[in-house]
């Protein structure tokens, strides 16, 4: 069995199982925890508070005007590379075919050249966020292995994908095998580290917004 067949065969299968078990475990483990009882009189009706919770997912997605000067650039870069990742994952023809194998349907792809440009920009932005993390004193003190490994594995997938496209550093099938294998590692790491924010970020913002609205402090 060659590297590519291994990476997109048994390795991907194993990684997918671990990913699903891990994600379900963590989500169920948190969702089923006891929630703190609201002791004060509700300041907003339930429906209004729920709507406020939904609104918070948007309002908390951009810094408060008071902080925009300090954090705006960092957030803009963060959003940009996330958008880049989404485009590459969802609009590149071979990736769409991977999805189609699981879902049973596909959708139109963007031209390969456009995907390559977006990938290069995304890679540059990932380098920028690493630079910021390493040079920003507070961020550096807050960072641990989880932050760096999550960055590393995400970037590795992008870099191996670009190398495979450019046939740079080896034969295409070897580079493609490494690309898929790095994605397998990302799937394995996903439920163990901060990449889980993909599942937590919006529900946690919504719950915070709901709780604050019920307490009379819609955000």
């Amino acid at each position: 069995m060659d590297l590519l067949t291994f990476a997109r065969g048994p390795a991907l299968q194993f990684a997918l199982v671990v990913f699903t078990i891990g994600v379900a475990w963590r989500i169920a483990g948190i969702a089923l925890l006891r929630s703190g009882k609201l002791l004060s009189e509700p300041r907003a009706p339930l429906v209004k508070a729920l709507l406020a919770g939904l609104a918070t997912t948007g309002s908390r997605s951009w810094p408060h005007p008071e902080f925009i000067g300090r954090t705006g650039a960092g957030e803009a870069i963060g959003y940009s590379y996330h958008i880049g990742l989404f485009i590459v994952v969802l609009a590149f023809a071979p990736h769409i075919q991977t999805w189609a194998g699981f879902l049973g349907f596909d959708w139109p792809a963007l031209p390969s050249g456009v995907i390559t440009i977006i990938s290069v920009i995304t890679f540059a932005l990932l380098l920028a966020v690493l630079f910021r993390r390493l040079t920003h004193r507070v961020l550096r003190l807050l960072s641990n292995f989880d932050d760096y490994f999550s960055w590393f594995i995400t970037t590795l997938v992008i870099v191996t994908g670009l190398m495979a496209t450019a046939h740079f550093g080896g034969r295409y099938e070897t580079l493609l095998g490494l690309h898929v294998l790095s994605f397998d590692v990302l799937l394995l790491w996903f439920p163990l580290g901060k990449l889980m924010h993909a599942f937590y970020i919006f529900p946690s913002r919504a719950i915070n917004g709901y709780l604050l609205a019920r307490k009379g402090a819609p955000s």
């Binding site: 060659d2 997109r8 048994p10 891990g22 379900a24 925890l33 194998g101 879902l103």
Partner: protein, 366 residues
């Protein structure tokens, strides 16, 4: 017959100098050499002795020999067959039975250490090699005997190069490629199922005209023919780059000649000269005929999943590539397992929360 020079033989056969030069220039071009090399090749070839060639057929379908003999006539390929001495080929030779075997033995004796061996087919090794025999001897035995005195071995086709279909799972005969049987001899793999005729003749031509084997890639294939992937040299490549794909073999995309990636084309991971040299005298190649490449010149091509599943699809599941139903079952089962573990983890946490709440009675929890 091997003692006369190629020049003598060409004169005897009435081949003109012009025709011979034209042929040599074409072969130089095929080998990616400058046209000026054609004259030098012609001079070398004219003075060269015809090498003795022993062609062994093992676990194979004769497709490789068919490919070789499908060279257009009169063609440059057939001319090349006037410049080697094919002393043994059990399909093409007139002799049969013990006379054929004697011809092989004589050729080996007369040209010990100098003859070329062409091997077509894999070699069964299970149970002492009894699954493949000719003239009362196992293929394994014949290969080992003939291989000893060879100057070089040329493996024709994917079966002799990498095991091919005989070595595909479950491989009941223990089929193996030549490279796993013979060591210490130069081995050239001309893979393909079958190989492109011009790749076969081009490699032989280079050996005869230059007296050395061509530069090989890491799989032992001549770089000049196997240096690029089908995908990189495919005339449909621009459609891949534009994101235009045929979805079925008869839709508008297929009629417009769009890329066949989504229909399972293995061109991106397959190295061969199909897209450049083409088949049937340069007429076309499989992708040009509307079918994706099946990757037949690569090792284990038969066991790499469906020919019709895209290269980027997940390669697990009953059919070799996962179906949505299989994926749903797998993910669903894993989610149930994960959810159950999460439920257990939450139950433990809730007990702990309850204990903490009990320790702090003024902080009731719901």
């Amino acid at each position: 017959m091997t003692h006369s020079t190629i020049g003598d033989l060409l004169l005897q056969n009435g081949v003109s100098r012009r025709a011979f030069l034209k042929y040599c220039t074409a072969m130089a071009s095929l080998m990616a050499l400058p046209p000026s090399m054609g004259r030098a090749l012609a001079e070398t070839l004219r003075a060269a002795r015809r090498p003795s060639v022993i062609y062994l057929s093992f676990q194979e379908c004769t497709g490789c020999a068919e490919s070789l003999t499908r060279a257009f006539s009169p063609s440059v390929e057939s001319l090349l067959f006037n410049v080697i001495s094919l002393d043994y080929q059990d399909t093409l030779m007139a002799a049969a039975g013990h006379r054929a075997e004697e011809a092989r033995a004589q050729a080996m004796k007369d040209n010990d250490g100098e003859y070329l061996v062409i091997v077509d087919g894999a070699i069964p090794t299970a149970d002492g090699g009894v699954y493949g025999m000719a003239a009362g001897r196992t293929y394994l035995d014949v290969m080992q005997e003939v291989g000893k005195g060879a100057a070089a071995i040329i493996c024709l086709g994917t079966c002799s190069s990498f095991g091919g279909i005989p070595m595909a799972k479950p491989n009941p005969t223990g089929a193996r490629p030549v490279s796993e049987i013979i060591s210490g001899k130069p081995i050239v793999n001309i893979s393909g199922c079958p190989p492109v005729p011009e790749v076969i003749t081009g490699t032989l031509f280079q050996y005869v005209s230059m007296g050395k084997l061509p530069e090989l890639d890491e799989l032992g294939r001549p770089k000049v023919f196997f240096g690029n992937s089908i995908h990189d040299r495919c005339y449909r490549r621009p459609f891949y780059d534009e994101g235009k794909f045929a979805k079925t073999f008869d839709d508008e995309g297929a009629r417009n000649g769009w890329c066949l990636y989504e229909l399972g084309c293995k061109g991106p991971t397959t190295y061969n000269a199909c897209a450049t040299v083409k088949w049937n005298g340069g007429t076309s190649f499989p992708i040009e005929s509307g079918h994706g490449c099946i990757g037949c010149s690569e090792p284990e091509f038969w066991d790499k999943g469906s020919f019709y599943a895209p290269l980027s699809s997940a390669a697990f599941g009953k059919a070799g590539n996962v179906s949505p139903r299989e994926a749903a079952k797998l993910v669903g089962a894993a989610a149930v397992v994960g959810g159950a573990i999460g439920l257990g983890a939450a139950a433990v946490s809730r007990q702990r929360q309850q204990k903490l709440a009990g320790a702090a009675p003024d902080k009731k929890e719901g």
